[in-house]
Every structure is written in C-alpha cells, then in structure tokens.
Amino acid sequence: MRGVAVWFSGAALAFFLTAGAFLLLANIATVPSEKNLAPEPPDASSQDVVELQLNADQLASLKPKPDQSLDLTLRNESELTLPAVNVTLKVSSENTALSGSRYYRKMVEKVPSNGTADIKFGINLSEPEQRVTGRPASEPAREILEIKAATPDGISTTKTVILPP
C-alpha cells in the first residue's frame, strides 16, 4: 500500500513539475494579449492640466511683417500649482521647402491651481527667403504658428494657428 502511495505521489509530482514548466515557458514566450486593451488617448491628461487661449481679434490683425505681437493666456486647470510651464512658439511657412523657421520660448513659473498667466511674444512674421520651389504662384504659402505648453511632468498641450496669406 505504501509503495502505491509513493508511486502515485511521484507521478503527481512529475506531472505538476512538467505542467508548471510548460506554463512558465508559455508565459515567457508569448507576447501580452492585446484583447480588451483600450488605446491610450493622446494627451488625455493635458486637457485637464494646461490650456492655451488665443485672442481671435489679435490673430486677425497679424501681418506678414516683423515686430508683431502675440498674446496668450495659459490656464492651469489642475488642482495643483504648476511650478513651471515651458511655452514654445514656432513660426514656419506652409511651404516646407523654405528653411528659416523661427523659434521663441517663454518660461512661466508658479501658475496657481485654476489660475492663469499672460504671455506675450514679440514675433517676426516677415516672409521667409524667396526662391524657386515646386509650389505654383497661384498657391501662396500660409504662415503657421505652433504653440506648445509643457509642464515638468512632460504633459503638454498644443495650439496650431494657420494664418491666411
């Protein structure tokens, strides 16, 4: 009787060891299942943290000349004070063959919860270099202002302004 029990225990032990080894290997070799995984929404948290507000009247008054002003309002929509927000502005042409994008940067410190900060950029909107590209004359390139506000946590929000020619 004892011999039967030993044999039974040995067989069970061998079975579980083998099954465990196979399950372990299967878990190591298999990529995580993608079933039922929701895609991560882009910049989901940024909508609740920082918001950039632009003045439509001022945008309408911008001219393709130097010494233009762009005023922004940065709103902290989180429950915490933001120690610093890095605001960058890129001015480029719709004509991607033209180099000479212009970059501007402002650092805003200590934006209180649900508070705002006003930012003023002095920008140059004069037309970039003129040279032959593949764009026909009937398609004048528009200026593009790309404004990005980023917190130290890496959360960012973007506003892109397309100015008429």
Binding site: S9, A12, L13, F16, L17, A19, G20, L23, L24, N27, T30, V31, P32, S33, E34, L37, P39, E40, P41, P42, L54, A56, L59, A60, L62, S92, S93, E94, N95, T96, A97, L98, S99, R131, V132, T133, G134, R135, P136, E139, A141, R142, I144, E146, K148, T157, T158, K159, T160, V161, I162, L163, P164
Partner: protein
Amino acid sequence: MAKPGLLVVLLAAVLLIGCTPAEESSIAPLTPTAGRVDPGLGPGTRALSSGPGYKGSPSWSPNGTRIAFTMDGYVMDRPTTSGESRRWTTKDFVATDTEWTSDDTLTILGAASSSGRGAENSLYRANAGESPLALERTAKEVLAMSPIPGEEGLIFALASGPHESELALTRNGGTTYRLYTNKPIKGHVSALSLSPDGDEAVMAVRPPRDPRTSELRTFDLRQREGREVTRLKGNREIVGTPQLTQHGIYFVSGKQTSSVDDDAPEPFFELYRVPAEGGASELAPGVGADFVASSIRVSPDDDRLAVIGRLNPKSPINLYVLDLAAKKLEAITANEDMEIKTDPDDLAWSPDGSNVAIIARGTPSTEAEVRTEPANRLLRDFYNLYEIPVSDETAR
C-alpha cells in the same frame, strides 16, 4: 505529511503561474495616417500623408508598400501603412514628377532650383540603399516619362532639337539609356504613358510652329514604329497624359484660358476617346455630355479608367471610375467640401488595382484658423494624399 504539503505548494505555484493574466501594455494611439478616416471624401478613405506641404505626383512602389510624391519641389516617400517618411532630394532641387522603377529605386524628373523656374528638366536616378539624397543624372532635356508596367524600366521623351523629340529606354534603374529610333518625332512631347501591357506608348505632342499640344501619337515599342493618331483642330488642345487602353485611347481636351482673372470661368475640358488605329475622336461613352474631366489614369488590369472630374460644371469634383467595356461611370468619392487637386499627375492606381491615390484638402479659410493638434498631424488644412478603395466590381 511532507509530501501532500509539497504537492499543495506545487499545485498552487502552477495555478499562480498559469492563471495570472499577461501583463497589460498600453497601445500607442493610431497616427492620423494609419487608420481609415473620413476627411470629407466618403467612407473608407485613408490618409497617406499629413501636415503642410504642396504635394503632387503620387506613385506607388511596384509592391504597393510605399508611395512616393513631390512636396514643395522635393521628393518624399513613406509606407502606405504607417511609418516614417524618407526625403530623397535636397532643397536645391525642384522635382516635377517621380516614378518607381523598382521597389528601392526612384526616377525623378526635375532641375536644380538655381536654374530658375522653367529650366530644362533632367532625369535622375535615386536608390534607397545608397547614400541618401544622392542623385545620378540619366539624361538632360527630358520632356516626359512613364514607367514600364511590370518591369524595372522607364520610357522617356527627350528634346533632340528645337522642334524634335526622341523616345528612349532606361532599364534596372541605370543611368544609361538607348534611343528607340533615329527618326525623331516632329514636335515636343508634352505627356507620355504606356499601355498596361507595356507594349505601346501614347504621347501628346506639340507640333512645330503650333502653340498647342494638339497631336496624339502612338509608338509601338516592339515594332519600333510610331504614327499620328489624331490632331485636334480649332483652338482645342490635349490636357494632361493620354491613356492607351484595350478600348481605345482616352484623353482630356479643351480650350486653355490664359486669363489670370479669378472671376474668369473655369476652362471646360471634356473626356474623349479615339480608336488606337486612328480616326475621329468622340466624347467618351458613358460619362455623360456635361461631364467635365481633369485627369485620367487607366487601371493596371486595363479594364477601368480613373477620372477626376465633375458630372456637370456646377457639381463638386469627385473621383470616378469608368468601366471601359460596360461604358458605365461610378462615383468613388462622396465629396462635399474638399478641394480635390486636378493637376494631370495627381492621380495614381495602386499596383493591384484596388486603390487610387488622390490629393485633396479642405477649403482654405480667409481667416486665421486654430487647431488643437501639431501642424504635422493636420490633414484637411493642407493638401494631403488619400487612398480611396476601389473594388473590382466598381463600375461593373
């Protein structure tokens, strides 16, 4: 007692390992170019590019996995699914057209930008495996080009004199070519394409002392013989690239206007068909008397013609497919508020004939527009490439 205890521990370990769900990992959000979108052209449309840039001349690679195009004068290509773009030319070069001659070789028609607008175009070869942005010139004073379907070669027309053209062949993406005949074509070739079987070329030609592109010619590449098919009378001329099909030669014709007045009426171009052996041209059967055509391309299976145009002068521009045998026209896009580009080369079939690439944008505003995405992810605000699915049963 120790053995049953060990068995319980082992059983628990096996269950723990085996039943623990695999660790979840976040899936990156799809880029605007990766999925089907409806930018205003109808369901099933997929963006193949995004962001600013004046895009043109789409061309699918022979295996259909990449698409090349011109953008503000330089040449780009990108995967047709998702992935990074590649730039093939530098900013001191202005490309007007590009075609794949193999899955990793592009042939580019263009000129150095320092030459100024209107400079003579040359033909260049660029290979993805070689040093980036390196172009090798194949021929000078090239007027038009067309890839050979199913082969790693290209036929092109080059100016051999003030009023003469010649056809030439280059193979395997090489930088050498050979002329087809010692007997030049009278006039300058303005557009060139090959039949889907690659045996014959059709050309739009501007004859000597004629300011219009008024002559339609074919050239049999096997027999090395060419002939005039038809010549348009009056002030009409051939617009864009004629297409040689098993049901005849299709071409767009109309009266070009030289007016720069924005209020001037849009030129009225119509789609015509003429027998390949020559004869009188007729309005293409199946499109309707009021149809206004812009650009055309024959499908790889030689059965269908993709047409960008309007059903009548007041209807929106759409992509249509004409079943050449059944003479039946079907709208592929459902355009409501998009501007579809109508330049002659802004239309391309995928190699398997299941998709057509077109270029479109939303109507630009006269006021400043604010978007919440980075510029390089915007679609409707700029001319971008769209893949339009076309089933085999379309128009049949």
